[in-house]
Each structure stands twice: as C-alpha cells, then as structure tokens.
Amino acid sequence: MNLLPDLAPLAAALRDLTPPEPTPLPFLERPVLLLFSDDSTLFFARRMRDCLQAADPDLVVHMGWVVGENALSYRQMSQLLPEGPDHAVHGKNAFAELMEGSEYRAILTSRVYGPLGAQMRRKVLSVRKDRPCVLAFLGGLDFFPQNGYFRRRNCDGVYLFPHSELPVYAGLAEGWDDMMWQEVGFGHPSFLQPQTLSPEDLASRRDIYFFTQALSPSTRRGRLHILQALAAMARANPDRTVWIKLRHLPGENQKHLHLEKHDYPGLLTELSDVPANLKLTACTMDEALETAALGITCTSTAAIDVIRAGVPCMVHLDFVDNYVDPLVEPMRKLFAKSGLITSLEDMLHLRSSAPDPQWQDDMFCPRDLGTRVLDTVRRFADRPFQLSPTTT
C-alpha cells in the first residue's frame, strides 16, 4: 500500500504557475540594439537610430549601454539620453547571452568591444541560425584605420568610409584566413550627404563655433594662440558671438581615450580683456549646429558634423606648434582635396569655401543608410550554411 501522497497533481499545478519561456519574435520583427559607452559611441547610436527610424518608422530600436566600458559622466548621460538606455549590457557573459539569445535581429556598433569581438571569432556561433547580425561601423574619422579594419573582420557587416577605402579593405581581407559571411557597405550615420541650408537661413545666423579637440593643438602656447585668434575674431565682429564649444567640462571624461592636458576654460582665464562675445559652451553638437553660421576646428571630427549640417566649415591646421602635433598631417591628408583647409589669415577674415563636390561624394554616403543597413540584415538572415541553435 502506497502511503505517500500522489504528487502528480501538485507538480502539474506548479508547472502551470511557472511562466512559459517567451516565444521569440520572428527574426525580422525583432528590435535592433545599438551599443554605446562614451560620448562618441552615443552620438553614433543616436544618429543611427534616426537613420533606422527614417527607413522603417515601425522598427523598434533599443539603446544598449555597455556598462563595463562606460566613460560618460552623469551630466552627459542626462543631456544626451535623458530617457535612459533600453538595455544594460553588463556582466561577464553579457555578450555571449546577447549573441546566443533571440531577442535582437541586429546589434549595431561603432566600436568592437573585446568580448563582442571574442564572440564573433567563434566559428560555431558565426554560423548559428537565429542569432543577431552584428554590424560594425567605424568609430569616426580614423587617421590610422587599418587596425580598426582588422578588429571588424569577423563582424557580419562592416560599413566604411570614405568610399575609396572599400577596395583597401577588400585587399586586406584577402589576407585574413578566418573570414566568414560578411557584407561590406559604405557609410556612417555621421557621414550622411550634407543638408542644404537656404542662403536666408545662413545669413540670419550670427554664431561662430570653434569646436575643440582634446589633443590638438597639443601645446599650451598653441592653444593660447588659438584663443587669442578667436578673441580677435570676436572683437572684429561685435555683432556675432564666437563660441568655444567644449566637448566636455574640465574634470569630466577622465576615462576617455583622449585626455585633454590644457583645457580651454582654464586657459581663457589667462587672457586679459576677453571680449564679451567670446563664450564657452558645453551644449550638444546638434544644438550648436542649429544656430552656427560657421564652424571652425583644428583636427576634430566635428568638421564632418559641420559639413553634414550644411554649415560653412574651416579646418585650421596652421596653428602655433602644429609641427609637434601628430594629428595634423593625417588630418591634412584626409582633407587635402576638400578645399576646407583654411589659413589663419582667411580664418580671421571669415573667408570660407564650399567643400569640393568630388571629395564630398567620397566622404559622405547617401542618406538611405538605414534602408541599406536593414537590407544587409535581411540578407544575413538568408545566408548559406546556417546551423540550428539546437545542434550548437
């Protein structure tokens, strides 16, 4: 005689209480995840989100914060993404879980994080059916891009610029022996074909922006000379405001790859008789470009944002001590055919030129970037030689 109670109904009741495993959405209905961890990657993510939503207004885009690599201050987080991230990528196995899960159709990034790169090198994962498609873009203007190309070799899609770099990448890829399915495209959300501003709009604008860069000019006296030049421009144009656009406030971004040795707010206090229309700002790039009549920079990739917004741009490389600045020559090479490299004399007299159209077409991609990216993801879903997750 069995004295033990029959546990079967209890087990059945417990089974009913356990929430069922959520059924994954069909691949092409899943959200897209955009990764970020610092200001550069967050700018990329925000712009990529705009491109994707322009291509498909119903597409769900999640912003994924890579917590372990965070270099954003709370001020920057609040300013650039007040609504907060949709997904926090944290923990030792975060990338493995993302790649083996069926939550996303694609992961888009402008930086191949170490653990993500490690996942992408796994052959068995590479051929896995139903995993997200990983698309890597460049981090921005890269003076020495070849290392970045190598780090992106295992991604499912690589989007590059300028267009003339695509054959360079193809040549390098021939020498890599661990390549799997990959599509190479042209573009970056910060490098979309420029907008055209109406002459009336431009004429009504009074703001001149100098976009600072952490590393250039590299010396203290080089920076002081730039500040003196900006002060002189402000004095010569009392009806305009000359803004020194800071990328971050002093003391912020101490974990950023590029650390600033001589900050402009500190140097400005050393100038005597600073004109009232020479001001500092830590506003966002988009805010600056809404009112800018002219954008000036030395080696900052901000030049690209200025051109994209249809605002006249000057790349000034003749600053004091430019010969000890390692970024000057690569910047000069990249902008050699742009027609935008401006001498100090032309800068002081506000004599700007329009970008060379051929150079512009090589550097800036068509505005349908979001559509092309989603097409890459679609083709990824149909790639040959896929292995069902149950067999991996």
Partner: protein
Amino acid sequence: MIAKLKKTALGKAIYRLSRARLGAPLQMLSRAVQHEALQLEHLKSAHRSHNQRQIDILAHFEAQIASSQPGKVPRASEQNT
C-alpha cells in the same frame, strides 16, 4: 625618439628603475625631458619661422581692428611685433 628608446634594453631598464622604490627622481627627470616646451623640434628654423608667421598674421589683424575701432588699446600679440 622617446618611443624608440622605450623599445630598447636600456629603455626597459630605465623604466624598471623608475618604477622601483627610489624611482621618483628618475620620473621627475623623465617628465622634464618630455616637457612640451623642451622639444628639439622647436629649435628648427622652419618651425620657428612658422610660429612667427602665425604670430605676425594675428598681430597684423589685431592692429587692423584697433585702427578701425579708435580708442582701443592694441593687444599683447601686437606689442610683440
């Protein structure tokens, strides 16, 4: 030059010494040698004339502003020339 030195055996030995308990003076010396104002590049005549040209352009511009705005005192950079 510093980058090249770092890769040599001597460079590595100096680095190890600088990390030792009594390495502080060596670190101070290293910082002084690498100071931005002490770079040999500053001594090249082409570089000195480049810097002077930029200073002159700015001074000339500031003089122009001062002359178009009577009563304005010339800037420091104008007084250098």
